[in-house]
């Protein structure tokens, strides 16, 4: 009985932690934001910018894994190859309001750009 409760609680925690919880967003009014690509994550992974604000996302890839090599922003038709240990800038202008997910080819690295 106890083990079942523990197991079901574990499942509930998995659902809450990975799907329901909304992490804090990095709100920026700067025109540039540095995003580190390291250890399987983008950091920050959740960015909020204002509509009509031109912004340059500067991806600094520190992860050797080839999975981190390609960055895609499908809603903006952007695909970029990230060079190891270098900053790859992606300049965005007039980005439509809403959420724009950015991720690697396999969607293991994931982040979101929210335009409000």
């Amino acid at each position: 009985m106890i083990i079942n409760i523990v197991g079901l609680t574990g499942i509930a925690l998995i659902i809450w932690w990975f799907w329901l919880y909304k992490p804090d967003q990095t709100v920026t009014e700067s025109n540039e934001i540095l995003i580190e690509v390291k250890n399987g994550v983008y950091s920050p992974a959740s960015i909020q910018v204002n509509a009509n604000q031109s912004v340059t996302l500067k991806f600094l890839r520190k992860d050797e894994s080839p999975c981190s090599e390609v960055l895609l922003i499908p809603s903006l038709d952007i695909s970029e190859q990230l060079t190891l240990n270098e900053v790859t800038p992606i300049h965005l202008e007039n980005v439509p309001q809403g959420e724009h997910t950015f991720h690697c080819q396999m969607q293991m690295y994931r982040g979101v750009l929210t335009v409000v």
Binding site: I3, E64, D77
Partner: protein, 747 residues
């Protein structure tokens, strides 16, 4: 963001004298945030240190009358070299990690197979297994650290990835084993089994899989590497009457560049001195070298075969045709066709779902499993976590697209994105524009039938002299023909163009008339039975025109736009692939019928205006056809845009890269058949990969959870799961690599 002191390099344009140096340096030094600025006059670059950004620096240089651009982009060749070096280092690291992990894992696994007992019953066994547990911890630290760090970072980020599954699986096995060793009484006697060999073997096998996958991935980008390899690294620029060897990224607009025989053309430009032949096959696929002399265009990446020449740079850096082609291929290689979207959706939810299945599996064993239920629960939960492979799903589409788009580029076909690739594989109707697509697009004089004149050369001389200066394609064909035969043109007077009929004028005292039968009738020139000869020519896809001298018919001159030599075989290739080929043209019915017959096309529409071409595309789409439209990208723009896939025919390197879904770099229609063949092969490959990845996960996860146990008493070992997981993504990459062997011409 805090402003950091950095060094930025600018390339300066328009600095022609040494005194410019002081002016530019002074302007930069007065810019807020600039600490120092030093200009190298020889290569026209300036190095600026400080906190000012590039835009401010460019403005400062422009304020004193020069142009500047930031020099930050590395040439693609350097990027490729660096990437290969980084991949080699990472490969070595993964192989070292594999060696360390398997050095412990293999002996342990061998022991478990031979002895078939890894239980903890006595204190001596506890001590021995404790030592093994600590060694396994060492393996986890040295060889598997990247999984645990990645998993932790992802967890903090509220996301989960492959690292999460591996870290949870190996971590569960290790912690359970250590619990058995350290607090055996906490675990039922029958369940006192250790799984250190599983932890070490899984880490070793997955590291090995990653290393082999890295190698295989390198091969998928061979096509783009070949394109990048076409770029020259340096150029010989003439500055201040001296030859200066500069890096390719320092070549400026309007620089005069010297190219010796055997050298590559470094940037795009126009020949200003010299004569040579250039091999453009690497870009256009055309095998014959092209003669180049004054005012002819040359493009970056092509090979100078014979003479030395000077040319003026018109497009440099990222603006060259080659750089744009490379950028487009790279972009397309990373884009996904719609077929991959389902896999994307699944990937996004995959890992947490697997974690839930793992918990459910453990609960099922604990509730309904035989003894030792705890051990079974641990094994099944671990195996579920390890066997699940989000990578195989995630890699299935992009790896095939990478190879397929590269393969197409090698055949001179530029595919804009994954969607175009997928749609091209489904095309059921191909609409071909006639002029410039099926035909050469440059009319030529094909027949001169003499009437009341005995000298063909004089007829051509007079007709060409009359038409000289006209920009009408037919007139240009006649003038061109005279030039080809070395005929000197004469001065004409009283030239008059008669709309819809032709032209008239005087030359050497003779009254000349050139045009259609209406012109002859209106001027009272009898054409007699020559009208029948003209009709025969028209039926043979030629345009006949009457030429009269001093009121008497002198000759019929026929002009035709010849069909490209390989158009017929290319059209037959399309038809053999069950594609309905339709020709559209603005020409009259007779000419259209004649060209269609010669080109083996049974369906055609003549006298179609450009806007009606789009209507025709729409009409076919309403009949549920998937329509491909092929045109020159200018007149056919509306139809190209409306078609499911628009193919632009590029003539040589003058490609309208952004104008269509697919651009054919050479003029041959075989490019169309190649594009469709590559698209079909790529889609087939993607489907194989997706099917394999889905089946692997759909079958593997329940198998790992133990669904076969009640029937056959079989439960999968976590080590086997680790090996299967490691090699599933390798299989996907290897299958994508098979596409490299695909030969479009055979299809």
């Amino acid at each position: 963001m805090s402003a950091e002191v950095t060094q930025r390099q600018l390339v300066i344009e328009g600095a022609g004298c040494a005194s410019c140096v002081g002016k530019i340096e002074a302007a930069l030094k007065q810019t807020p945030g600039v600490q120092n600025a030093e200009m190298n006059f020889a290569d026209r670059t300036v190095l600026v240190s400080g906190t000012a950004d590039s835009q401010l620096l460019v403005q400062a240089v422009e304020s004193v009358g020069y142009n500047a651009k930031p020099f930050e982009d590395k040439p693609d060749t350097d990027v490729v070299d660096e990437k290969e070096a980084a991949d080699r280092t990472y490969y070595k690291k993964l192989m070292r990690d594999t060696f360390i992990a398997l050095s412990l894992g293999i002996p342990l696994m061998t022991y478990s197979i031979v002895v078939d007992e890894m239980t903890v019953e006595t204190n001596v066994e506890r001590l021995l297994w404790l030592a093994v547990g600590l060694l396994t911890l060492g393996v986890m630290f040295f060889s598997g650290r990247h999984f645990y760090i990645g998993a932790w970072k992802s967890f903090k980020n509220h996301s989960a990835n492959m690292d999460t599954l591996i870290a949870l699986g190996t971590g569960t096995a290790w912690f359970y084993s250590m619990l058995v060793v350290l607090v055996p009484e906490a675990v039922p006697l029958m369940a006192r089994h250790v799984y250190f060999e599983a932890t070490a073997m899984i880490i070793g096998l997955i590291d090995l899989g990653l290393a082999l996958e890295l190698k295989a991935r390198g091969k998928t980008s061979e096509a783009i590497k070949r394109l990048i390899g076409l770029q020259a690294k340096t150029a010989t620029v003439i500055r201040d009457n001296k030859e200066v060897q500069v890096a390719i990224e320092q070549v400026l607009f309007n620089d005069v560049i010297k190219v010796r025989p055997g050298e590559k053309v470094p940037v795009d430009g126009v020949v200003v001195e010299g004569h040579t032949s250039i091999d453009e096959s690497m870009l256009t696929g055309e095998p014959m070298p092209v003669e180049k002399s004054h005012d002819d265009e040359v493009v970056a990446g092509t090979l100078n075969k014979s003479g030395m020449f000077l040319f003026k740079a018109t497009r440099v850096g990222k603006d060259t045709a080659l750089a744009q082609i490379i950028a487009m291929v790279k972009r397309a290689q990373n884009s996904k066709p719609p077929i991959g979207r389902l896999a994307d959706v699944i990937s996004a939810y995959f890992v947490p779902v697997v974690m839930i299945i793992s918990v459910l599996s453990a609960l099922a064993w604990l509730n309904f499993g035989p003894e030792p239920a705890l051990a079974f629960a641990i094994v099944s939960a671990t195996t579920v976590l390890i066997i699940a492979c989000p990578c195989a799903l995630g890699l299935a589409t992009p790896m095939s697209v990478m190879v397929g788009v590269g393969k197409a580029a090698e055949a001179g076909v530029l595919i804009r994105n994954g969607e175009a690739l997928q749609t091209a594989s489904k095309i059921s109707v191909m609409i071909l524009d006639k002029t410039g697509t099926i035909t050469e697009g440059t009319p030529k004089v094909t027949d001169i039938i003499l009437a009341n004149f005995s000298d063909e050369k004089t007829v051509l001389q007079l007709a060409a002299s009359l038409e000289n200066g006209s920009e009408h394609p037919l007139a240009m064909a006649i003038v061109e023909s005279a030039h080809d035969q070395g005929i000197e043109l004469l001065k004409t007077e009283e030239f008059n163009a008669i709309t819809g009929m032709g032209v008239e004028g005087r030359c050497e005292g003779k009254a000349l008339l050139f045009g259609n039968s209406k012109l002859m009738a209106s001027k009272g020139v009898g054409i007699g039975n020559y009208s029948e000869k003209a009709q025969t020519l028209a039926k043979d896809a030629k345009t006949p025109m009457y030429f009269a001298v001093d009121g008497q018919l002198a000759a019929i001159i026929a002009v035709a736009d010849p069909i490209k030599p390989d158009s017929v075989s290319a059209i037959k290739r399309l038809q053999a692939n069950d594609i309905r080929v339709i020709m559209l043209t603005g020409d009259n019915k007779e000419t259209a019928a004649a060209v269609a017959k010669k080109a083996a096309i049974s369906e055609f529409f003549a006298e179609v205006l450009p806007e009606d071409k789009a209507n025709k595309v729409h009409e076919l789409q309403q009949q549920r056809e998937v329509v491909g439209m092929t045109g020159d990208g200018i007149n056919d723009a509306p139809a190209l845009a409306l078609a499911d896939v628009g193919f632009a025919i590029g003539t040589g390197t003058d490609v309208a890269i952004e104008s269509a879904d697919i651009t054919l770099m050479r003029g041959s229609l075989h490019g169309l058949a190649d594009a469709i063949a590559v698209s079909k092969a790529t889609l087939r490959n993607i489907k194989q990969n997706l099917f394999g990845a889905f089946i692997y996960n759909v079958a593997g996860i329940p198998f790992a959870a133990g669904v076969l146990y009640p029937f056959f008493g079989v439960l999968l070992s976590p080590v086997i799961a680790g090996a299967a997981m490691a090699f599933s993504s390798l299989t996907v990459v290897s299958n994508a690599n098979r596409l490299r062997l695909f030969k479009a011409k055979d299809h």
